[in-house]
Symmetry: C2
């Protein structure tokens, strides 16, 4: 008979693999809480229309979408942003601002499964709603950075490329481009890192060959890597919008510098993020060696909640994926060696001693201690092997001889030392063993 | 513009609701680990055939099933058992026995959404593979019981009804029933609690009116509520199979008694669990008042892994749902009042003081402390109101006057007392404040 396979691109987590995933989730959650973010969760299935409204009808091709038995067009969620906007939009009037929320959840897309591109993946999403100023970006990018440093990664391992779609809009406007030309140019800029000058072909198809002066000015802007260079370039243009935007940049970078995080952030206007709904600062985190796909991405999207039919509410957020983060941790040797070990292994002489052992095992577990024991009778000597294999630090030995004298043997499996305690004091003795340190 | 609703029967979790769910998940996880169970996770989507193979083609009507874009018949998982069997069956040769696994996951079914019956729900699943004897049931039922007592529930709140499909098979065989009649009778017994004697109608339709003597003997068995009564009834029948099964019962109840858990368990042969794949002991947990649906259910299913196409491997498991458990906790007043509070609120004099505050906030958060602050300038007095609202135990005050003297004010928001510390010692002072206990 044929056995059943996991569906293509879906992920199964045996205990050894899940331990590694849980380590990542645990630190993500801890850090989000340290920053005062509240956790939420949401349905795995959403109306297909939610994603079409956000991203356009073409998005359907990438979605795990289907018609349900009730004739509804639905999709397994490919991202959290539309959902969190829906939840926040629904109750915006009653939620205390700024709204700082996070989630850790699985997402799905329908595409040919290949190495590093699964059909299912996890993301840590964090968003701030209701704060239009760059103070929200300071808070959010600080959380993004600590979400990597918490694992032991340093500025030698990763950095955040910071850019600004507003600045591009204002700059291209100052250079005389209308909105359709600006959008086509941003699309070209998005591809420039990968394609070089070929990236401008799409623009040229619609608006004719690119003027050499314009192209030079775009390339100058693309090469800006410092706030000083940005300031200098903008000074030659003038204009209130650009000046105000420069003030926002100074506030954002100044805040991150005050937090001691400037070394993690690089000005890089080559990042514009393809998604048209971003409205201001955008950023992506990458490994310094440039070997991996983006570790994280985010930005400001002040009009999305309004677009979904709710009242306008400013928003900025990021998503970190578990897969690329995991690869980087592996490459840097930053995955702790997890031994999923119980605290105590109980060695049981025979059926006659089992009752006493079971009573104490139940009491220890009720006290929060993790305890393992052989379910069936096993030779005494073999149980010590099982105890060692279990990774437990302490063995409790329920021998007939000891129980006759009203005692239980405690064996320190690290120190290989033994002592006896009266049975009535076993729970207390185990508590002391683990609180005293070994 | 119309806004987007959560799909019918799906659940969204705003932070206040998620906190309650996480409390349940946290205790489930802690207890499973105390019992030496390892956590796994698995795909949310599975081949439809997996569920049909386990439960028959009729199951499809209840499933959230659909055809994916690749033409595959798939279903959102309605339960974990077939999936965990698939995972264990696949690697049975390399997994150390007994295999003790648990998971906490969401499940889906397609049915008309109504009060208390959602289309999505969470379950805590625990299973032991590779141990055919009742020692596995002792371990598993002990975990089941502690999974309720950990919340403060007692034997006055819930109990486990213990039954045995094997015993019914052997008993009905001793009464002269063949296998088709035995299965029809078990189906009647499953409905007897709800329907009374009408439950036997289905049996009568196939096999003619129920013999009065047989019915009396079935009803006698149904009314057994103690091991002694069971022993007495079986003694009159004799036979090796029944004697061996009685020994298993004694071992199981003896083990639970040794663990001090007998008061949570009632013999109740009225539980047979409709699902045909159970092969031995079966059990269900209920609230004592009998007001709620089952809290949990489980049993032995030694042939399912083989049926799915893998080598035979004995198995016993249970599932606890989050919804009924949550209702019971609410009714008993056992939901802790969660205040999702940060540790520290930082009061900032003005823009001039913000840099110093941001530096210390970053350091405190990197040290694992949760810290909130006003993203924008807020009047001094109003910040103390925000600090109180945040639930923080400690306020740090960055005033111009204090910073000029190189100090920061610490305000104990519970005691309403204040003191100053040199800025360089803020992180240490906060650490002491929280470790010293307030």
């Amino acid at each position: 008979m044929a056995t059943f396979q996991t569906l293509p691109g879906f992920r199964e987590f045996y205990p050894d693999v899940l331990t590694r995933r849980n380590h990542i989730f645990r630190l993500w959650r801890q850090n989000a809480r340290a920053f005062g973010f509240e956790e939420y969760d949401a349905p795995v299935l959403e109306p297909l229309e939610l994603y079409k409204t956000k991203s356009g009808d073409e998005i359907e091709a990438q979605l795990f979408s289907f018609t349900d038995k009730g004739g509804r067009e639905v999709a397994l969620r490919p991202e959290m942003t539309p959902t969190v906007c829906r939840l926040v939009g629904e109750k915006a009037a009653t939620l205390k601002r700024p709204i700082k929320w996070f989630s850790i959840a699985e997402f799905y897309r329908y595409e040919r499964a290949q190495k590093g591109r699964q059909r299912s993946f996890f993301q840590f999403n964090a968003d701030i709603f209701g704060e239009p100023g760059p103070e929200a970006e300071i808070e959010l990018i600080a959380l993004l950075i600590q979400s990597f440093t918490a694992f032991g990664l340093t500025e030698q391992d990763f950095y955040v490329r910071l850019s600004d779609r507003n600045l591009w809009f204002f700059y291209l406007e100052a250079l005389g481009l209308d909105e359709p030309r600006t959008r086509a140019m941003l699309s070209a800029i998005d591809k420039h890192e990968k394609l070089g000058d070929d990236a401008f072909k799409g623009y040229a198809e619609h608006f004719g060959p690119l003027d050499a002066g314009l192209k030079a000015k775009v390339l100058v802007f693309l090469q800006i890597k410092t706030l000083a260079a940005l300031e200098k370039t903008l000074a030659s243009l003038g204009g209130d919008k650009l000046a105000a935007r420069l003030a926002d940049w100074k506030k954002l970078l100044g805040g991150l510098e005050a937090m001691g995080l400037a070394r993690f952030v690089g000005v890089d206007l080559g990042v514009v993020r393809g998604l048209a709904y971003y409205t201001g600062f955008v950023f992506e985190a990458f490994d310094r060696k440039g070997e991996l796909r983006a570790l994280a991405g985010g930005g400001r999207y002040d009009h999305l909640i309004g677009k979904l039919g709710y009242g306008e509410l400013s928003a900025v957020g990021f998503a970190i994926g578990d897969v690329t983060t995991g690869i980087l941790l592996d490459e840097r040797g930053l995955r702790p060696k997890f031994v999923e070990a119980v605290d105590v292994y109980t060695v049981i002489g025979g059926e006659a001693e089992r009752r006493a052992a079971l009573a104490d095992i139940a009491a220890l577990r009720a006290a929060g201690r993790s305890v393992e024991y052989p379910l069936k009778d096993v030779a005494f000597g073999k149980q010590f092997k099982l105890a060692a294999d279990s990774g437990a630090k302490l063995a409790l030995i329920y021998g007939g001889d000891e129980l006759a004298r009203g005692v239980v043997k405690l064996r320190d499996l690290t120190e290989r030392s033994e002592r006896e305690v009266p049975r009535a004091q076993v729970v207390e003795a185990v508590r002391e063993f683990f609180s005293g340190g070994t």
